[in-house]
Structures are given as structure tokens and as C-alpha cells.
């Protein structure tokens, strides 16, 4: 129990001697372990020598003779540094433009009065109900007409405006007391200054929550980049990795796949571990501290 007690020191005083929260905590730990199993397997499979044969592939026990062969194999099949750079450019590019568009749109929906505001807002939300696959052909046609076929910009373009992001930021802005804005107005702040110095800083948790969702979803996007990109040197990680996972009639080298998958998720995983505290709190907190 000492471990639990040690993890327990942050718990509110009032509940420290109760049993129910402890049960909940134990359950959470169990769930976390279940969630960890695939990651553990991936690590073990990556280091397993091919000579272990297919029978041991499903084992969670690490091999006694770990090897880096699989990582080297995966590294040779795909140009991973290049793919990682492309994916990073795509995710960062989308996010930067999204921040601008959702801030302005969110502000308009939260604070400005204009004709048909509610109708336009609901139309905006309807985007959330469309299956992305439905838009592949019209989006690709438009991207091609703009001369952006087979460019990274073409991959980013359809995501520059986000209905979900606009909704999230509108909710955050609406929660901010108008008195703060009025005070800035009296000090002679312009519209953009008010957004920059009052609304944005106070909605930071919502922005970082959105950033996480945006980056993870575009990091993992496969079908759309596959449609737009032809040149091998412009492939993002997902398309690069699928070269050795999407097989129809053949079979799979699990060690290589595990190594490749590890490389794809490693940057995200590391980022998450570094900023863990901040991420969790941004999902939990909202409004004004």
C-alpha cells in the first residue's frame, strides 16, 4: 500500500480516509495498464530478433537477445527523417492558420452582432456531421485547380478552418466577463488589441486543448495525404509507414511494422510526456483562475 499512499499525497484531505476514491484510483491504474499493453508489445516486438520466429511474436516477455535489426530495416525502407519533417510541417502549418481563423471566427460568434448569426453558426456546426471521405473528390478537384496537387500546402488547405475549433473558442470567449473588455475599451484598446490581450490569454487552456486534438488527428491522417501526394519525398509518416503494413495477398513482418510504428508515434509520445501536466490541466480547467 505504500505506493498508493505515495501517489495519494495530492488527494484532498477530506477524502483521504475514504475507501471509494481509492477504489476509483486502483481502477484507473488497472485501465492505464491495459492501455499500456500494446505499447509494451510494440517495444518488445521491435527489439525481437527475426530468428525468434513467428511463434514468439505475440509474447510480451522480451527476447533475451534484443536486436536493433528491425529498426534498421524500417529505417532503410522509409526515409523517416524526411517523413517526420513533412508531417511536422503539415501539422504545424495547419495549426498556425487554424489559430488565426478560429480566434477571429470564435470572437465573431461570441461577441459581434450581425444578421443571420445563429443560422450561420449552425451551418458551421453542420460541418462536423460530414464524413471526411465524402469530401475527398471535391476537395481534391479544388486543390488541383489551385495548382496545389502534390504539394504539402494542398494537404493542409482543407483544414485551415475548423468548425470544432470555432465552437470551442466561441464557448471560451463567451465565458469571459464583458467587464474586462469594457475596461480595455475605456483604455482605448482597438478590437484586435482586445482579442490579443484579453480574450486569447484568458482562453489559453482551450487553445492548448484544441492544439492537442488538431495535431493528433492530422498526425494520424492517412487517406487525404495519400490522395494529394505523389512525390515520395513529400510523404508524411502515415503514408510512408503503410508501405509495409498495407498488404493484400502477402504477409507481414511484424518486427519491422512494430519498429516503424514506434518511429511514427515517438515524436508525439515524447511531446506528450514532456508537457503532460499542462495537457491534462488544459482539459480540466476552463474559464478564469
Amino acid at each position: 500500500m505504500t505506493l498508493i499512499d505515495r501517489l495519494w499525497k495530492d488527494a484532498p484531505l477530506a477524502t483521504r480516509n475514504e475507501i471509494t476514491p481509492k477504489l476509483g484510483f486502483v481502477l484507473t491504474v488497472l485501465l492505464a495498464l491495459v492501455w499500456l499493453i500494446p505499447f509494451l508489445w510494440m517495444g518488445v516486438a521491435t527489439l525481437r530478433p527475426p530468428s525468434d520466429g513467428i511463434n514468439l511474436m505475440a509474447e510480451l516477455m522480451p527476447s533475451l537477445t534484443p536486436t536493433l535489426d528491425n529498426i534498421r530495416d524500417a529505417w532503410e525502407i522509409g526515409d523517416f527523417p524526411r517523413y517526420t519533417l513533412n508531417t511536422t510541417i503539415i501539422c504545424a502549418g495547419i495549426l498556425l492558420v487554424q489559430f488565426v481563423t478560429i480566434t477571429l471566427a470564435g470572437f465573431a460568434f461570441a461577441r459581434l452582432a450581425f444578421a443571420g448569426k445563429t443560422l450561420i453558426f449552425y451551418l458551421f456546426l453542420m460541418q462536423l456531421m460530414l464524413v471526411p471521405v465524402l469530401l475527398i473528390v471535391p476537395n481534391l478537384t479544388l486543390v488541383a485547380q489551385l495548382g496545389l496537387y502534390d504539394t504539402l500546402t494542398g494537404v493542409m488547405m482543407p483544414f485551415f478552418a475548423s468548425a470544432f475549433g470555432t465552437f470551442l473558442i466561441r464557448q471560451a470567449f463567451e465565458a469571459i466577463p464583458t467587464e474586462l473588455e469594457d475596461a480595455a475599451l475605456i483604455d482605448g484598446a482597438g478590437l484586435f488589441q482586445r482579442i490579443r490581450h484579453i480574450y486569447v490569454p484568458l482562453s489559453m487552456p482551450s487553445f492548448s486543448a484544441f492544439a492537442i486534438i488538431s495535431v493528433t488527428s492530422h498526425w494520424n491522417d492517412f487517406l487525404w495525404p495519400l490522395m494529394v501526394i505523389n512525390s515520395p519525398d513529400k510523404r508524411p509518416l502515415t503514408v510512408g509507414l503503410s508501405v509495409f503494413t498495407a498488404t493484400a495477398e502477402g504477409t507481414q513482418a511484424w518486427g519491422t511494422i512494430a519498429a516503424g510504428t514506434l518511429m511514427v508515434i515517438a515524436p508525439l509520445l515524447i511531446t506528450f510526456l514532456i508537457f503532460q501536466k499542462r495537457f491534462i490541466s488544459s482539459f480540466v480547467t476552463s474559464g478564469i483562475k
Binding site: 492558420v97 481534391l140 488541383a144 502534390d150 508501405v243 498495407a246 498488404t247 493484400a248 495477398e249 507481414q252
Partner: protein, 439 residues
């Protein structure tokens, strides 16, 4: 203002990325290719295209990897609609009819004629069984590139152990059922070794259903017309009932729908003593099996018959003349006896070009690996792969139901009635334009 400076920076970055490369000199063409076997072949494909570019200075081809067979169809279609068709695509052989119906393919007759050969001479290079999927309304729309037939793989060591002779493989469903029973090992209620594994996942499942239905005397679809499939028939009912019996009556086949890679994995690991799988997996089995294995024809119930599988090279519609010509040069080069033989030895698919089997490298290879002959011999009883209007959705109408049966949630009869109903619905628009459009 920090904010706008960042914005400018972002815009500058974006515009810098948007500069497309300008083409000068050789005709630049893209070849879309799926990777139907393991990823190292993506490198082999790269090697092949590099060699092509070195020997053809007027053309610069780029191999573009495009995911699975189904993804490749989606990407090709989207590219055609966006006005950026690739010059050539390695396309699943059973998608050609659907694409031709949608006017997405270039008729290759004129290109063949321009070479001074006749259609008969051109097609005569390839095995007759492959022509059905490449020729539509007597015009050539595809060139066979790598092809397969389903095979029965047998773990010979386990067969001997069970008192069976691996050199006399089962030839009928009755014999196969008997083998599977003898090869299943049980520990109380728990099965420690399955007698047989047959794959069922999207794409594979439909192909296996066609295989079993054909061995049962049936036809999966109307070979002459793209608006009809025959799911609710005695021959398919017999096929699905037998598959269902292997799982739930004889308990010699694991319950549930198993994807192809899981089937080959369980065969290699000794967890399944026999499997039905594409000849495209032969190289993998040869490289990984730690035991003696045999490959044999798919056993029959009524007759010996199997569908072909694999892919053909196609030229999408809407290309400029110079790209079309360059694509044709590439296609002829890739399907030549030498190249298609080389690709066959790398993958396990058989080479569609009959002359490939007369090259010294191939004769030498077959001497060392006699198991590679089985698929070629089976071509005598092979027939085209099902191809209809909207091949993929019509195929999924059946696959969804077969998966329910294998998962023990439905009985074969009701599943096939439901599959037929769904497929008829999917085919309706085409029939309204053709067979039901009456004067």
C-alpha cells in the same frame, strides 16, 4: 505586433512550399502501384523503375505508392476527377469493368494497332485464363502484370505425423474435411492445432467465396454482363454451408473471420496445419517455414475451378498523347518476359507472360523451387475474377454477411438471401440504364 508577424511568417512558409516543380526535357509520368506483398517490394519496384529510366532517356517515370488495392482505386478515381490522372496504374484485375463502365479507362486497341501488331497477337502472349479480366466488349483495357490463383498449402511434417501422405494431397472437399479432422489436435475442449485456415477479410473474403463456389460448380457473377451476381444459389449455399460446417460442425477451422496475414502467420507457426491462400504468399512461406510444406490445387466438390487474382496495368482516361505513349512504353517494358519473370521470382505471383517461363533464369528457378509450378498448372482450370458494376460495394454486400456466418451470428441460407438483396440494390442503377431500360 507579434501576432501579425507570426502570421506573415506562416504565410511566407506556406507560399514557399507551394512551388510545384516545372518539367523540362523528358516526358514525366507517374505510375501508381499498391504493395500487395511485403514492404521490401516497394524497394524492388523502385529498382525496376530506376532501371527503366536509365534505359529510356526520353521518359522519366516515378513510382507512386498508393496503399492497398482498394485505396489505389480510390486515389486513381480521385486523381482522374481532379484532372490529374496518373499515366499508368497497377490495378486490381477485377476493378477494370467497373472503371470501364464509368469511362475511366483508355481503350488500348489503338496503341496496340500503332505498334503494328493485332489484338490476338498481343493477347496471345498471356495465359488464356487472364484475358477475361483484361478484355471488355472485345477491346483491350488492361495488360496482366502479376497474377495469382488460390492454393492449398499443407504442412507436410504434420500430415505425416497424422498418418497422411503429403504427396497425395486431398482432391475433393470430402477428402479435405477428413484431412482437416485428422490434423486437428484437441486438449479436452481446447484446440491446440487447427486442421485448416481460410482467410476472410475485405477483398480476400469475396475471392475465397468465389473460389469455393466455383469448385462447387457455380458462378459468382454473370461473366457477360456487369449487372448480375448469383449469391442466393445452390452452389454458393453449398460452399458457404461447407465453410460454416468446418467451423461449427466439425470444429476444425477457428471461428470468426481471419484476415490473410493472420492465416499465413498461423500456418507458419504450426497453429494451423493447412491453409487456403494466394500463390502471392508463396515466397513468404518459402522464406519462413521451418518445416516441409506442399502446395496443391484447391480441392473440388463438383469440378476443379478457381478464379484468378492479382493486378493488371491500366492507362486512365484523359491523358495527353505524349504521356499516353510514354505509359504504353513503360507497360510493355514491365510486362515483357524478362521483367515479369523477375517480378514473379521476387513476389511469388506467377508471370502472366507465357514466354517468361522459357527464360533460362525462370527454368533454373523452377528447378530449384518446383512448388512455384503449381499455380501455373492450376491456370488450366482458372477462370476470370468477378467483375461487376461497383465491384467493391457489391463484393462487400456478400463479405459482410459471410463474416456474420463465420462469427456464428447467422445461418448460411438467410445470410445469402440478405447478401443477394443488398447486391441487387447496389446494382440497380446500372440495370436501370441497361437490362431494364426497355423500349
Amino acid at each position: 505586433m507579434l501576432f501579425s508577424r507570426r502570421l506573415m511568417l506562416g504565410l511566407a512558409m506556406v507560399s514557399a512550399l507551394a512551388v510545384p516543380a516545372m518539367a523540362e526535357g523528358p516526358t514525366e509520368i507517374d505510375l501508381f502501384f499498391p504493395v500487395p506483398v511485403d514492404g521490401k517490394l516497394a524497394r524492388d519496384m523502385g529498382t525496376m523503375i530506376k532501371e527503366f529510366n536509365e534505359t529510356h532517356s526520353a521518359i522519366k517515370a516515378t513510382a507512386v505508392y498508393t496503399g492497398s488495392y482498394d485505396d489505389t482505386l480510390i486515389k486513381t478515381r480521385a486523381a482522374i476527377k481532379a484532372g490529374k490522372p496518373p499515366a499508368a496504374v497497377i490495378m486490381s484485375a477485377n476493378f477494370l469493368l467497373d472503371m470501364q463502365i464509368e469511362n475511366e479507362l483508355t481503350n488500348l486497341d489503338a496503341l496496340i494497332k500503332a505498334d503494328g501488331t493485332t489484338k490476338e497477337q498481343f493477347l496471345g502472349q498471356f495465359f488464356p485464363a487472364l484475358q477475361g479480366n483484361a478484355v471488355i466488349n472485345r477491346s483491350v483495357y488492361g495488360v496482366p502484370f502479376h497474377n495469382s490463383t488460390p492454393l492449398l498449402y499443407i504442412n507436410a511434417d504434420k500430415a505425416k505425423e497424422a498418418g497422411l501422405d503429403p504427396n497425395k494431397p486431398p482432391q475433393t472437399w470430402a477428402e479435405l474435411t477428413d484431412w482437416a479432422k485428422k490434423l486437428t489436435k484437441r486438449d479436452g475442449d481446447k484446440v491446440t492445432q487447427w486442421g485448416i485456415a481460410i482467410p476472410c477479410a475485405y477483398d480476400y473474403c469475396g475471392w475465397m467465396m468465389e473460389t469455393l463456389t466455383m469448385s462447387n460448380g457455380g458462378r459468382y457473377y454473370n461473366e457477360e454482363f456487369g449487372g448480375e451476381v448469383y449469391y442466393d444459389t445452390p452452389s454458393m449455399l453449398g460452399a458457404l454451408t461447407w465453410w460454416n460446417d468446418l467451423v461449427y460442425k466439425h470444429k476444425v477451422h477457428a471461428p470468426g473471420a481471419t484476415p490473410g496475414p493472420a492465416v499465413s502467420t498461423s500456418f507458419i507457426s504450426g497453429n494451423a496445419a493447412m491453409m487456403m491462400l494466394s500463390t502471392g504468399s508463396l515466397t513468404y512461406v518459402r522464406d519462413n517455414a521451418k518445416f516441409n510444406y506442399r502446395v496443391a490445387f484447391i480441392p473440388r466438390n463438383v469440378r476443379n475451378a478457381v478464379p484468378i487474382g492479382g493486378a493488371s496495368l491500366i492507362v486512365p482516361a484523359g491523358l495527353e498523347a505524349d504521356k499516353q505513349k510514354a505509359a504504353w512504353t513503360l507497360i510493355k517494358w514491365m510486362t515483357s518476359p524478362e521483367k515479369s519473370g523477375w517480378w514473379s521470382r521476387a513476389t511469388g505471383y506467377f508471370a502472366p507472360n507465357m514466354a517468361a517461363y522459357k527464360t533460362p533464369e525462370m527454368l533454373d528457378f523452377l528447378n530449384k523451387n518446383p512448388d512455384a509450378k503449381t499455380a501455373v498448372e492450376q491456370l488450366d482450370v482458372a477462370k476470370p475474377w468477378f467483375a461487376t458494376y461497383k465491384t467493391v460495394p457489391v463484393r462487400k454486400n456478400l463479405e459482410d454477411e459471410v463474416m456474420l456466418v463465420l462469427n456464428g451470428k447467422k445461418q448460411p441460407k438467410e445470410a445469402l438471401i440478405a447478401a443477394q438483396k443488398a447486391a441487387d440494390e447496389t446494382l440497380k442503377p446500372y440495370n436501370a440504364e441497361t437490362s431494364l431500360k426497355l423500349p
